[in-house]
């Protein structure tokens, strides 16, 4: 068996940014870590769970709880870390903004993994702005070594300046691998819990004092930051001075190694003295940063300089070397030998064997649709299902369905249901359901229970009976929970039993009262399939009706007017195509399995 990384005490490892954050947490004595999974942050807690048993680590039901539990552990003097995707910080914003006033006892590092380019997200928010609004220190690493180092520096800053520290990563830093020099773990004692109500109970009289400390703290960190290694001037050609941070720094060095660079590691508060020095060294200033003009606006509003930034660097999307080259050195772009060839897109789709396929196939068949949520099942919007019409944020499917009913009534709502995964329901759907009961809604909520937080790669949650480390925990009783909210009609159905699934949808949508359908079947990533079995098409019997194609199964393609089932892709424990074929032309030996 491969040695766990907590046995490696020196050397150089090729680590992703996320793995480097986990490593940093271990080396710099973090005692406790908590998170809700979210791309691109998920591997931070996964790596801690798998490699570093010295850190007590757990999945939280959502980001707010994750931040609250690490806040409590910090109050008791432990070094702590929480990680979340950028929109997760919105969920955790309530504790964040007040934790900023309270400060830290044990060091607090909160990782925000932003997603410029929206590889796996619904918006492109730049959480440096959240950090500034919350008045906390923001650090921005540009590779894995810095990601590791900044966990250590972040904990030190947190304890020395009595502040939470936001470690702002981006997808390209989280998911790129680069070399990291590693060291042993430094054990730091847990200080112990001592009550301090002036510090930790922000009643107005206390909070006014706290706010004053926050303002002084920002000035102190700015002063200190001007001499910190985290911010540095790389002196080069004085005719151009680039101010940059995060991954953008790497692109600048790649395409313009001669330029003078002010590399910002502490984005909030900015090291004003160092910025001023740099401005005096160069003729032309260019800000190179992804998404918002965060550095640009701050520096320009303070020093009233002429400069370039968002006039030449796009505000939308992820940067890359070619975009930065075009902006900094127009005319040096590479001549492309081959131009883009128009090709069909390859969007993601539900996996072969996915339990959600049965639910969306049936919903589509009865001409129903859904208000959607955040998870693999958002793919219900794709053809051939076309059975999902809204997505806002975690848990919103339920509130949105309620609101549609309030606006246009039961009739106007048609055959819409709310579609939400069990992990998302636990994260922030429960209050929406309580609202439906409380305010007299009559819609149908479909909780798609595949017993796994799937879209982020397959993590445990309170419904799976396992924790982050795979140990047994009590299983959350979803039916009991839903009933306790006051829902009378609760049905559990196997979404791969298509007859029953369709019947249940029709009955519950047709009912004039609130109902909940729990579609329960495990995610294919959560178990090893049974012995190989492939569905076989009898081309003699096949009438080319294309009913099987309405499943949208990646294993079934259409060639020479007949379905072809891929033996590489067909999932052994799935027989949906056998069920939908009207002439029994598809067969599969399931070996007695359901």
């Amino acid at each position: 068996m491969r040695k766990k990384l907590n046995t490696v005490e020196e050397g150089v490892l090729l680590l992703s940014g996320n793995e480097a954050v986990a490593r940093g947490a271990w080396e710099y004595g973090v005692h406790f870590a908590a998170a809700y999974p979210g791309t691109p942050s998920t591997e931070i807690l996964e790596t801690i769970g798998e490699e570093y048993e010295e850190i007590d680590a757990q999945w939280a039901p959502n980001e707010k709880v994750g931040l609250e539990v690490i806040a409590g552990a910090s109050f008791a003097g432990a070094r702590v870390l929480s990680a979340m995707k950028h929109v997760g910080l919105n969920v955790a914003a309530d504790p964040l903004f007040t934790l900023s006033y309270i400060g830290s006892t044990g060091g607090i590092v909160i990782v925000s993994a932003d997603d410029p380019g929206m590889h796996s997200s619904q918006n492109e928010q730049d959480n440096r702005l959240m950090g500034r609004a919350a008045k906390v220190v923001v650090l921005e690493p540009s590779d894995s070594q810095e990601a590791k180092d900044m966990v250590g520096e972040g904990l030190r800053i947190s304890e020395e300046f009595d502040t939470p520290v936001l470690l702002r990563m981006t997808t390209r830093v989280c998911h790129s691998k680069s070399l990291v020099r590693v060291g042993p773990r430094n054990e730091v004692p847990v200080k112990g819990y001592v009550a301090d109500i002036q510090k930790r109970v922000p009643i107005p009289a206390h909070a006014r004092v706290m706010h004053s400390k926050v303002e002084k703290r920002l000035l102190a960190v700015s002063e200190w930051g001007a001499g910190s290694d985290l911010n540095r001037i790389e002196e080069g050609d004085p005719s151009i001075g680039v101010i940059t941070s995060g991954i953008s720094y790497q692109y600048v060095k790649e395409v313009y190694p001669e330029a003078s660079v002010l590399k910002i590691g502490i984005s909030n508060p900015l090291p004003w003295k160092l910025v001023e020095k740099f401005l005096g060294m160069v003729d032309r200033v260019v800000f190179v940063e992804e998404n918002e003009p965060f550095l640009e606006e701050a520096v320009r509003s303070r020093f009233l300089i002429e400069s370039d930034g968002k006039d030449i660097i796009p505000i939308e999307g992820e940067l890359d070397p070619e975009t930065v080259r075009k902006a900094l050195r127009p005319g040096t772009e590479k001549k492309l030998t081959w131009s883009e060839i128009p090709l069909p897109g390859r969007p993601p789709s539900l996996c072969p064997g996915c339990p959600h396929r049965g639910a969306f196939y049936c919903l589509s068949r009865i001409r129903g649709s859904s208000t959607g949520d955040i998870g693999c099942y958002t793919l219900g919007l794709m053809p051939p299902y076309n059975a999902l019409e809204t997505t806002v944020c975690m848990g919103a499917s339920i509130g949105v369905l309620s609101g549609i009913e309030k606006a246009v009534g039961r009739e106007g709502m048609g055959r819409l249901v709310a579609a939400i995964g069990e992990s998302t329901f636990v994260h922030s759907g429960i209050t929406g359901l309580i609202d439906m009961v409380y305010n007299g809604n009559t819609g149908t909520v479909m909780i798609m229970d595949n017993s796994l937080t799937a879209m982020t790669g397959g993590q445990h949650n309170p419904t799976t009976g396992r924790n982050l480390r795979g140990e047994e925990t009590p299983v959350l009783d979803l039916e009991g929970l839903v009933r306790a909210c006051g829902v009378e009609h609760v049905k559990v159905v196997d979404p791969h039993d298509l007859k029953e699934m369709e019947k249940t949808l029709k009955e519950e949508i047709g009912r004039d009262e609130l109902s909940v359908i729990i579609t329960r079947r495990p995610c294919i990533m959560s178990y090893r399939p049974g012995k190989p079995a492939v569905a076989v098409v009898d081309t003699e019997k096949c009438i080319s009706c294309r009913q099987c194609m309405k499943l949208g199964c990646p294993a079934i393609s259409w060639e020479d007017d007949r379905p072809v089932i891929s033996k590489l892709l067909c999932w052994p424990d799935c027989d949906l195509c056998v069920q939908v074929c009207p002439v029994d032309a598809i067969s599969k030996d399931m070996g007695g399995r359901e």
Partner: protein, 192 residues
């Protein structure tokens, strides 16, 4: 100064692109290079297009390959190789698995799968097609398709055979060493 080598590995979710890029990075590392790689996780993977950028040399800054700069594109699926053609340098090579995987847009009738071989000839792409699926079938293990392909591209890269062997032993569980080393050999002898 050691020159920088730029590689893009592309294909579709579930094809073992991650392992292929891990093996390539490990080989580049054991040959004494600075190495960076970058790829996309999450929603982008559910059967969608997947790519991994691998760069190695004396000192690497950007984890992303710049358009027009790839020395090598390794496509685990033919059409995905075409998609990345603008990244190929004027002297770069495209090595593609001779395999078609229809995207959902084709299966649902929204698009047609193009005649990739004809397009490759039409655009004059410097392509080598590898019957990696057939070779893996002969070896009795469909999971070594990616290592056959790694073998096929290895003569185009500056690492020695022993670096590749060490990388495979490092990244693959011990009980699968033999079949993977054989898969590598079969791939390498195609164009080596």
């Amino acid at each position: 100064m050691r020159p920088v080598t730029n590689v893009i590995i592309c294909g579709t979710g579930g094809q073992g692109i991650l392992l292929a890029s891990e093996v390539m990075c490990a080989a580049a590392l054991s040959a004494g290079n600075d190495v960076k790689k970058s790829e996309v996780h999450g929603m982008a993977q559910r059967g969608g297009s997947v790519s991994s950028h691998v760069r190695f040399g004396e000192k690497i800054y950007s984890p992303l390959v710049e358009e027009g700069c790839a020395d090598l594109i390794l496509a685990m699926e033919k059409m995905e190789g075409l998609r990345w053609a603008p990244y190929l340098s004027p002297v770069g090579k495209l090595v593609a698995c001779d395999l078609r995987i229809f995207p959902m847009t084709v299966n649902t009738g929204l698009a047609e799968y193009p005649d990739v071989d004809a397009l490759m000839i039409e655009h004059g792409l410097p392509v080598q097609l590898v019957p990696a699926v057939e070779i893996a079938e002969e070896l009795g293990n469909m999971r070594v398709v990616n290592v056959v392909l790694i073998g096929a591209v290895s003569p185009h890269l500056p690492m020695e055979v022993e670096h590749w062997h060490r990388a495979i032993r490092e990244r693959v569980p011990a009980k699968h060493h033999e079949v993977n080393l054989e898969a590598f050999r079969r791939g390498r002898e195609l164009f080596g």
